[in-house]
C-alpha cells in the first residue's frame, strides 16, 4: 500500500470552464476517493421569487444556466401553465420543441468540443465549435439572442418563425448533418480518442440505478429513460426512440450524445413538417395558485421543476433539480480507482454544468 496524498483539483483548472473543487485522495497514481466542494457558483436565485413576480421570474429561470437556458425557461413556464390551467397554442408548443432541440444540438456540440480540448485535440475543438456557431446563428435569426433569448413566455412563445426561416432551418441542419458525420467520425473512430475513453469511467447499469444517474449518463449504461417519451411539448406527435448504449464507459456516453445530435436534427425536421398554423401565445389572467412538479429532458438529463404559488404575484417557492446535481454521486463513483491523468476526462464525461447545479 502506497502513501496517501491529497491533491486539490480546481476551482480554477485549464479544462474546467466552471469552478468546482475536488479533493482527490491518491494512492500513488490511483484515485481512492474524491470529495466534492461546491458553492463557488451558488447565487441563491431560487430565493429571488420573493423579489421578482412570477412573470419576471421567467427571465431569472432562463439565467439558471446559459447553455440550457431555453429549456429552463420552458420548464418553468410549463409548470406555471399547468398550475393556471392554460392551454398553450399548438403552434407555440411546436416552436418550443424546435428551439429545445436546437439547444440540444448546441449543448452537445459544446460538450464534444470541450472534450476534444481535454484530449488535446485543439483543431477538433475548433471544428465542433465552428459547427455550433451555425446553430447559434439560427437562434439569433429567429429570436435575436445567441444564448439567452427569452423567447419562451407563460402561455406560449413571443416570436413566430416565418416560413422562409423554417426552410432555412431545414437546409442548415441538413447541411450540418453531413459535416457532423465527418467530425463525429473522428470522435468515434480515432484510436487516440478510443484509448482515452473506451473502458474508462465504467458505470454499470446496477450502479447507475443505485446512484440515481440521469440523462446520457444513465442511457449509456443501458437505462432506457427519457422524459421526452412522456410527451410534453410536441414530443407526443413525434416519432423517436431514446438512444442508449450498453457499455457504460466514457466512449458509450460520447456515442449517446452524438446519437442525440442526429436525433435532434431529425426531430427538428419532423416538427417543421407537422407545424400547425395559429396563434403563438395565450393571454394570461390572474395569478397562479397551487403547486406542480414538471420534468423535462435536458441535454444533460432529467430536470425537475417545482413551483408553488399562493394566489399572489409572488410565488411561494421555485425549485429546480438539475441533471448535473443528480449525476454528482455517479461522478464520485467513477472517479474511484481511476488514474489521476483521467480525472479531467471523467469530470467532463458527465457533461457538468456547475451553475445549474448550484444555482
Amino acid at each position: 500500500m502506497g502513501k496517501r496524498t491529497v491533491v486539490p483539483f480546481g476551482p480554477q483548472h485549464p479544462v474546467l470552464p466552471e469552478p468546482i473543487h475536488l479533493d482527490l485522495v491518491l494512492e500513488d497514481e490511483k484515485v481512492i476517493e474524491a470529495i466534492p466542494q461546491i458553492g463557488y457558483v451558488h447565487r441563491g436565485l431560487e430565493k429571488l421569487v420573493d423579489k421578482k413576480d412570477f412573470k419576471q421570474f421567467t427571465y431569472v429561470s432562463e439565467r439558471i444556466c446559459g447553455i440550457c437556458s431555453f429549456m429552463h425557461g420552458a420548464g418553468y413556464c410549463m409548470s406555471v401553465e399547468s398550475i393556471m390551467g392554460i392551454e398553450v397554442p399548438e403552434r407555440a408548443v411546436f416552436l418550443r420543441t424546435i428551439w429545445a432541440e436546437l439547444s440540444r444540438i448546441h449543448s452537445h456540440l459544446l460538450w464534444l468540443g470541450l472534450t476534444a480540448d481535454a484530449f488535446g485535440f485543439e483543431s477538433l475543438f475548433m471544428h465542433t465549435w465552428r459547427l455550433r456557431e451555425q446553430v447559434l446563428d439560427l437562434f439569433e435569426q429567429t429570436t435575436g439572442g445567441r444564448l439567452i433569448f427569452s423567447v419562451c413566455d407563460i402561455g406560449g412563445v413571443r416570436k413566430d418563425i416565418t416560413p422562409e426561416m423554417l426552410d432555412k432551418i431545414v437546409s442548415v441542419v441538413t447541411n450540418m448533418d453531413k459535416e457532423l458525420r465527418d467530425v463525429t467520425s473522428v470522435f468515434l473512430n480515432d484510436s487516440t480518442v478510443k484509448h482515452r475513453t473506451v473502458g474508462i469511467g465504467l458505470l454499470s447499469k446496477e450502479k447507475a440505478l443505485e446512484l440515481g444517474a440521469v440523462g446520457p449518463m444513465a442511457k449509456a449504461s443501458g437505462i432506457r429513460r427519457d422524459m421526452r417519451t412522456q410527451g410534453y411539448c410536441a414530443y407526443k406527435y413525434l416519432e423517436f426512440e431514446p438512444i442508449t448504449a450498453e457499455e457504460g464507459d466514457s466512449y458509450a456516453r460520447m456515442q449517446v450524445r452524438i446519437g442525440e445530435i442526429f436525433q435532434a436534427i431529425d426531430l427538428i425536421k419532423q416538427c417543421i413538417e407537422k407545424l400547425p398554423e395559429g396563434d403563438i401565445i395565450t393571454k394570461i389572467k390572474g395569478n397562479p395558485k397551487g403547486e406542480h412538479f414538471t420534468r423535462v429532458e435536458q441535454p444533460r438529463g432529467e430536470a425537475l421543476y417545482y413551483v408553488k404559488a399562493n394566489g399572489t404575484k409572488f410565488l411561494d417557492r421555485f425549485r429546480v433539480r438539475t441533471p448535473t446535481f443528480a449525476n454528482v454521486p455517479a461522478l464520485l463513483e467513477i472517479l474511484k480507482d481511476c488514474d489521476l491523468a483521467d480525472v479531467p476526462i471523467l469530470i467532463l464525461t458527465i457533461d457538468p454544468c456547475i451553475s445549474c447545479t448550484e444555482r
Binding site: Q12, P19, K47, M126
Partner: protein, 143 residues
C-alpha cells in the same frame, strides 16, 4: 514597442456566472470570431496571463480565489469584467449570496456589457484592455 500588446495572454475565471458569458468567451476564441488573430492566447495558468477575464458577480467563496489569481499574475495586468453580472450583479444583484460586481474586489479596467455578452463586445473589451496594458507597461518603465 510593447510586447504585451501584440500578444496578450488571457486567463478566464467564472466567478458566479451562469455559463452564458463563459461560453461566449470561449466562442470568441473559436474560428468564427477568432480573437487569436490579435495574438491573444488563452491560458490556464495565472502566472502566464496578462489579462484576467472575469464573468459573473462575486460571492463569498469566489472572492479569495479571484484575489489569489490576480496576485499570481505578473505586472502589468488588466482586468476585464465580462457581462452585466460582473459589472453590477445584474439580475442576480438581489440574491443573498451575491456580493455585487467584480469591482468590489479588484480594480476593473474594462467593463463589457451584455447578458450574455456577445463575442464581438468581448473582443472589443480585450482590445481595450490591450491599450491599457501598454499604458501600464509605460508607467512601469517610467518608474
Amino acid at each position: 514597442m510593447s510586447f504585451n500588446k501584440k500578444s496578450p495572454w488571457i486567463l478566464h475565471y467564472d466567478a458566479t456566472s451562469c455559463n452564458g458569458c463563459d461560453i461566449e468567451v470561449l466562442a470568441s476564441l473559436t474560428p468564427l470570431y477568432d480573437v487569436e488573430r490579435f495574438g491573444v492566447v488563452n491560458t490556464g495558468d495565472p502566472r502566464h496571463a496578462d489579462i484576467l477575464l472575469i464573468t459573473g458577480s462575486v460571492n463569498g467563496q469566489s472572492i479569495p480565489v479571484i484575489k489569489q489569481l490576480y496576485e499570481q499574475m505578473p505586472d502589468p495586468k488588466a482586468v476585464v469584467a465580462v457581462g452585466i453580472c460582473a459589472t453590477s450583479g445584474g439580475i442576480f444583484a438581489d440574491c443573498y449570496n451575491v456580493e455585487g460586481g467584480v469591482d468590489k474586489v479588484l480594480p476593473v479596467d474594462v467593463y463589457v456589457p451584455g447578458c450574455a455578452a456577445r463575442p464581438q463586445s468581448i473582443i472589443d473589451g480585450i482590445l481595450k484592455a490591450c491599450d491599457i496594458l501598454e499604458e501600464k507597461q509605460k508607467a512601469l518603465k517610467g518608474r
